[in-house]
């Protein structure tokens, strides 16, 4: 067996065509053309030179979520070197990156991988590429909706939006109730006075003022505090009824 796994051709025997495979990205078809323009765009926007990467994979070794990504950080950088726009914008990696900065801290060539991830995600959103991890995008939109509406986070609102849109209704109900009981999820939102300015910031930031999949659902935020207050009053009244019932016996 010769180099690269192909058997040595005997005289007169036709040469076996080698499968074009990328040595660094598992499963990638190496015949896909290199898109240098996309690579330059990523480098310029992320302010980092992906070309410096020599595939030591220190980033992947330290990445806490590499094993659930389709392309771990080292492969993302390789794909960025080759300008593989479609593979990158459609990857789960850009949505699963935890933003922990471990890769950047350890990269011997100072490739700012988290910045690359941010640029790719923004590009995917701008191009309308469906997120490979849709619930991640829904989470970010649900997180930002109360901030746009009131200037501060409103956990109850965020969770209701996330669950309504992701249809992931039943996870975490137990821990959610426990946190409500401990007063860790306030019923009422807090509103900043300079709300006009905060909304202006969203409107003036690329990607911040755009349409998101929450659409009309954000209106729920306006009615949620009153609804939650009524629900809390009902629960309290029922508990009071039970206590009085016990005391009366």
């Amino acid at each position: 067996v010769g180099v690269g796994g192909s058997s040595v051709a005997q005289p007169g025997e036709p040469k076996q065509p080698r499968e074009p495979r990328d040595a660094y990205v598992i499963g990638r078809d190496a015949s896909a053309p290199v898109d240098a323009a996309f690579r330059r765009l990523v480098e310029a926007r992320a302010g980092t030179a992906v070309g410096l990467c020599y595939q030591c994979r220190k980033c992947t070794a330290g990445c806490p979520v590499a094993e659930v990504m389709d392309h771990p950080p080292g492969e993302v950088v390789r794909l960025a070197q080759l300008g593989q726009r479609t593979a990158l914008l459609g990857s789960s990696a850009i949505w699963l990156c935890a933003g922990c900065e471990t890769c950047a801290a350890r990269c011997p060539n100072n490739v700012n991988i988290p910045a690359v991830m941010d640029v790719l995600r923004e590009e995917a959103i701008a191009a309308g590429v469906a997120a490979a991890v849709p619930q991640a995008q829904v989470f970010h939109e649900s997180f930002l909706a109360p901030v746009r509406a009131a200037g501060r986070q409103y956990e109850a609102g965020m969770l209701v939006l996330y669950k309504a849109v992701s249809l992931d209704v039943f996870s975490d109900l137990g821990v959610g109730v426990k946190m409500l009981a401990k007063g860790k999820i306030p019923l009422l939102p807090k509103r900043v006075r300079g709300l006009r300015q905060v909304r202006g910031i969203f409107a003036r930031s690329a990607g911040g003022g755009g349409r998101d999949r929450l659409g009309g659902l954000v209106g729920v935020l306006r009615h949620l505090p009153a609804g939650l207050r009524r629900a809390a009053a009902r629960v309290a009244a029922r508990a009071r009824g039970r206590r009085e019932g016990v005391a009366g016996r």
């Binding site: 926007r45 806490p64 979520v65 094993e67 659930v68 699963l96 935890a98 933003g99 922990c100 900065e101 471990t102 950047a104 801290a105 700012n112 988290p114 941010d118 640029v119 995600r121 923004e122 959103i125 991890v133 619930q135 991640a136 989470f139 970010h140 939109e141 997180f143 930002l144 901030v147 200037g151 501060r152 986070q153 956990e155 969770l159 996330y162 996870s171 975490d172 821990v175 426990k178 946190m179 401990k182 007063g183 860790k184 999820i185 306030p186 807090k190 900043v192 006075r193 300079g194 300015q197 905060v198 202006g200 910031i201 969203f202 003036r204 930031s205 690329a206 990607g207 911040g208």
Partner: protein
Amino acid sequence: MSASGCGPVSYYPGCSQESTAVEYDRSARAVCAALGIELRELHDWNCCGASSAHAVSHVLALALPARNLALAQAEGYGTLVAPCAACYNRLRRADAVLRERDSADAAAVEAAVGEGFRYTAPVQVKALVEVIGRDAGPAAVAARVRRELAGLRVVCYYGCLLTRPRQVTGYDDMENPVLLDQVMRACGAEALDWSYKTECCGGGLSVVRSDAVRRLVGEILDMAVEAGADAVVTACPMCLANLEMRRTAAAVGGAGVGGGGAGLPVFYFTELMALAFGLPGVGGWLRRHLVDPVPALRRRGISV
């Protein structure tokens, strides 16, 4: 003149301090008051955008914290203190970008903040643990201790955003930070060496991929048990919520911890400081935790 030697400072609580981490906020204020650090809550502060803003928009992720820098600049105390590691990180990033006066990024962020904002008198953005552990210093902390936490073995968990990336935080040692350890030692606790100080707990993915996050939290707690810790100490509300919520019973089943399945508790460093300072209110804060930390203290003869 305060113990920090810098007079009053602007305080940016952040959203968690009013919801999941009220106990961090209250204990932070109490401890700072005891040390003579004057916290003035930043008037009309807004959410920093956390991980979600930078997930979707570069400018939004900088302009949301920048509005708070604008408010702090106007208040004129010169220093802005954030207890939450994520807020601290986002504020530091915006500050770093805005200090590059000639950059296109700085101009874009100033324009997005609007209302004629110019970052002409930059503020020092500091993490609360820096103000306590470096500006006030371990000696000032030790001097305020009324009841040493002798015998309490803790591992200090820094997570990601307090130290990384270096260009943003200016932290000296990203793989082995020691600031929290020094504060805990000043309180009389034993701060153990361990290898998971700066491993990520996956906080930002906690809702979306709780399966993957459970594994990360399990590894961190396992390592804390292996190091022989009674408790984990942190300075991040996201880390604490995640370490409490995303644990499985098996992850804390190691010998010597949480007998009866109570589990390895996680403290905000300011809660343990308040306990060592003999300040009132600690019991109420500890009752807000999802994992009851009181039994671990009792086992070391520390009453609350």
